[in-house]
């Protein structure tokens, strides 16, 4: 059992660093390739969302990027991994986004919203709260 935390600038170019941090922990937990890919994917989708939108204040003079913290926590009973992503950007609950229609033909498909949809579908629990000026998104995968 344990908790690891990483804080980086909310920038897409930090994605590899963020995923490497997650991977190290998942490898220690000897989780399956399937679960590993799903957890990585969930973190990528949320991290990229935060990096793209959380600190993008339209019309704001400040172009400075904000921070995003990622913590990975595991529990033994039941065996699970929970990842929490925290930013201090614009309050935004990605879980209220409408699910995409995954039955449409290619020509009518929109890819927007697909990332969050994949997170909801592949994780066992996803929760969002806005607290003390922070967007806090947690997802958990039972192993």
């Amino acid at each position: 059992m344990g908790k690891r935390e990483l804080t980086v600038d909310a920038k897409i170019e930090n994605l590899n660093q963020v995923l490497a941090f997650l991977d190290r922990r998942l490898d220690e937990l000897e989780c399956s390739m399937r679960a590993k890919m799903q957890i990585e994917l969930a973190l990528e989708e949320i991290f990229v969302n935060v990096s793209s939108y959380a600190y993008n204040r339209v019309g704001s003079a400040s172009q400075e990027s904000g921070k995003v913290s990622i913590s990975v926590e595991d529990t033994k009973d039941p065996l699970s991994v929970a990842v929490t992503i925290i930013d201090r950007g614009i309050p935004f609950n990605p879980l209220t986004q409408q699910d995409p229609d995954v039955s449409l033909p290619a020509e009518d498909r929109r890819v927007g919203g697909l990332g969050i949809y994949m997170v909801k579908k592949s994780m066992d629990h996803v929760r969002y709260e806005f607290k003390d000026g922070q967007n806090i998104l947690t997802f958990r995968k039972d192993l």
Binding site: I12, N16, M37, L41, S103, P105, R109, G115, M118
Partner: protein, 99 residues
């Protein structure tokens, strides 16, 4: 990290993907495709050595599928079970031709 290997056989193009198709690497594949599809009637995406795909990768596959719908066909080959599961969840199994 993504390696892209292209093999052209007349009007058939095979793109072998090795590594990860994520937010960072997908733009590389997208620009590669933009420059490669002229006169191609069959596009084969070989995913034998692809370990990972995120929504950014799916977006590029959708763009490629739409382009090939106009000029021929596209086939996805050798995808792992984990990647196939992502295609299933997102309804891409209905859009793509998966062999």
């Amino acid at each position: 990290m993504l390696n892209i290997t292209k093999t052209v056989n007349d009007k058939e193009l095979t793109i072998a993907l090795e590594g990860r198709l994520d937010t960072v690497t997908s733009p590389v594949l997208e620009s590669e495709l933009q420059n490669s599809l002229d006169g191609i009637e069959k596009l084969i995406m070989d995913m034998k050595n692809l370990q990972y795909i995120s929504s950014a990768g799916l977006r590029v596959l959708l763009t490629a599928q739409k382009a090939m719908n106009k000029q021929g066909c596209m086939v996805v080959k050798n995808a792992s079970d984990d990647i196939k599961e992502i295609f299933d969840v997102t309804g891409f199994s209905d859009i793509l031709t998966i062999e």
